[in-house]
Amino acid sequence: MGNPRVLIDGKPGSKHLLLGNEAIARGLIEGGVSVATTYPGTPASEIVDSLAAVAEEAGIYVEYSTNEKVALEVAAGASLSGLRSSTSMKMVGLNVAADALMTLGYLGVRGGMVIITADDPNCYSSQNEQDNRYYALMANIPCLEPSNPQEAKDMLLDAYRISEELELPVLYRSVTRLSHSRRPVVFGEIARPRRAEFSRDYERFVMVPANARARHVALLEKMEAAKGISDSYPRNEELGDGELGIITSGNAFNYVMDAIEKIEADASVLKLGIVHPLPEGTILGFLGEHSPVLIIEELEPLLEMRIRALANENSIGTKILGKRELSLPRHGELSIKQVALAITRALGRDPGGLRFENPALSRLDLEIPARPPVLCPGCPHRASFYAIRASGIRDAIFITDIGCYALGSLPPLSVGDVLMCMGASAGLSAGVSKATGKPVVGIVGDSTFFHASIPALINAVYNRHRYIYVVLDNMTTAMTNFQPHPGSGLDSLGRPAKRILIEEVSRGCGVEFVKVIDPFDFESAVGALREALAFDGPSVLVFRRECAILKARKAEGRGPPLSIDRSKCTGCLLCINRFGCPAITLGEGGKPSIDAMLCNGCGFCALICPQGAIGGSADED
């Protein structure tokens, strides 16, 4: 999809190459969504990013909320008022929203509501790899699991239908390999949006204990009735033919199909489109007709546990093979190879006959240098970290947070001793400083500050904690593709909005030492850090400078690349060993040189070079 307008201009029946998340966005449009909220997070971000690009024209209200809990609540409010809504988030975002989620099922919804969770098996862009299907069980709401972009679009219409039939929100589970897969997607018709109408219903919508008790019973009854919907759901499909049965769902289904083809196995595959409540009748029938039955799923054995229990309750003796018997891990993502090996073993064949890797590879005796992600050339965070290191705070413990700046924990900057989850830097810093009495520097980004740091910052003031809180304000949500946030001065569609300043919020929280510094003003940055260290109480230093990529996209572009004057350079390598910009590489004669294709022209290296050897324009070599 080169042009986002395809999402609204594409005619029913037309075919387009879409990212899984774009297909989900089209599904929401076809489903007549009126309100779509999110807090950006990989691998979910492009759902609302692509909706935002067409929102005005499509008449959809789109919102980047301050965090996932708020996002879920805004969408829920719209659904209580009769509109179809969606909220989408990466899987850990649902932890933030979980408080609302656990009770929303009691209230139920009126307009259809879809809660999209994009899980990240193998932690490509995440701090954990939790399996969010658990949330469907815990909140006891229906859960659908598409397996490819076409289904991801089509099944959203089912999700809305089921949501309205049961008056419950539906959890919609994607994974990285779906959200970030591009596939051809055939478009369908666009439904008309619902009309908003709020009508009071005290017993249903006001969760005081007496009502909550009754609504829990109502939820259980709805989900009992949902078993019928699950059993008749046409996207629970049986494919292939064989004595051997395989039950699977979501992306795991794709590996199963390729594995069966690769090893030429006769197998019957039951692919579940709905994973909560389980289509019990369908599964019992399948168990009765096949043996053994393999259960193949990514991450947790969630289908497996319940199918074993179901077989047990119904005294079905079919041999069921799951994670343990098939040696399939509960971590990482599946592969064709793993699944092919598992099926081969279950068939009693010799797995030695299966060939995957290039056999010659075992003779490769070369250690390939790692290439972890790094802060971009010109990134203001690098300058901030350099100042933190240069300020010479002894024994400091650095508590970092979720965002690009987590990359500052890598050498040579090495600022980051603890990293846990969104906003945790503010609370963790308090605990570490209280326990150790050592200087503690918490590090957080601007969007993350608004997301989850503020209550902990108030706590730090109120409970007399002492640490320096460095807010790296690059004026955007950079890691997830530059979405606006409350401090950016732009609304969700990029129009001017009230700008909420981090320094004002901090003062409002009661922080008495607050300073705003440009990290490229190296002397001031170091000075402010030293002053904050001496302050008795929590302090906030806002290091503000616009993200280098965002800046380069604007009219001013990037600066001309710099070069190193080899006659002045003494080869001290401070620019490599301490600063570590990816545009500075080791040139001839052990002296550094600047890669003109990578250099952003920010000029910070020229500022810190002890010999004043950096400046001018492009390097010759």
Partner: protein, 200 residues
């Protein structure tokens, strides 16, 4: 038709995703099914990026199995090396020779191998290898950054995928922003010409 698997390996910022999307769009223009699996966010940012492109009649898995690559596109030499687990003795490796040295290899640990060594290894493990100085070619159309389109052109010019040049050009048109289409197509053509002049 047998499914064709193309691994595209490079460094975040080099245009791996654009390359893969244009290739998939080219396949669509030839009425084939196509699938691209890519990685965003933390995994980009100047880090190793690998994209799996699968082209055929009906694709299931988003990822290519180990040993299953028909083609490895190395937009960067070290990253081509890193994707060798996908190679087999028939794999064609198409290599952009511009090296991007990771900071980690400057600071400590294993050093960046010489280009000759990388080419030697690729030749040992793959069926054939074609090396291209893509930014040098791309400069002729005004932007060294169009190196990814030079590489796509080389892939198209070799004629090893069941996709004609016209479909590639239409695929690029579907993928890149309109303002840069002309430059990208020019870079693509330079790649096609380069490949046609070679014997692999």
């Amino acid at each position: 038709m047998r499914t064709r698997n193309v691994v595209v390996a490079g460094v975040g910022g080099q245009g791996v995703i654009l390359f893969a999307a244009a290739l998939a769009n080219a396949a669509l223009m030839s009425d084939l099914d196509a699938s691209v699996s890519e990685i965003h966010g933390m995994a980009q940012r100047g880090g190793s990026v690998i994209s799996h492109v699968r082209i055929g009649e009906r694709i299931h898995s988003p990822t290519i199995p180990e040993g299953g690559a028909d083609v490895i596109i190395g937009l960067e030499p070290l990253e081509a090396l890193r994707s060798l687990p996908f190679s087999n003795e028939r794999t064609l490796a198409l290599l952009n020779t511009r090296r991007i040295v990771p900071i980690a290899a400057l600071l400590r640990g294993p050093k960046y191998p010489e280009l000759e060594e990388i080419l030697g290894i690729l030749k040992r493990f793959c069926g054939s290898v074609l090396a291209i100085d893509a930014p040098e070619l791309a400069k002729r159309c005004g932007s060294a950054r169009a190196e990814n389109m030079v590489m796509l052109g080389a892939l198209a010019g070799l004629g090893i995928l069941p996709i004609p040049i016209e479909s590639f050009e239409r695929g690029i048109g579907e993928t890149v922003p309109r303002g840069s289409l002309e430059r990208n197509l020019e870079a693509f053509k330079l790649g096609v010409e380069f490949a046609r002049a070679q014997k692999v």
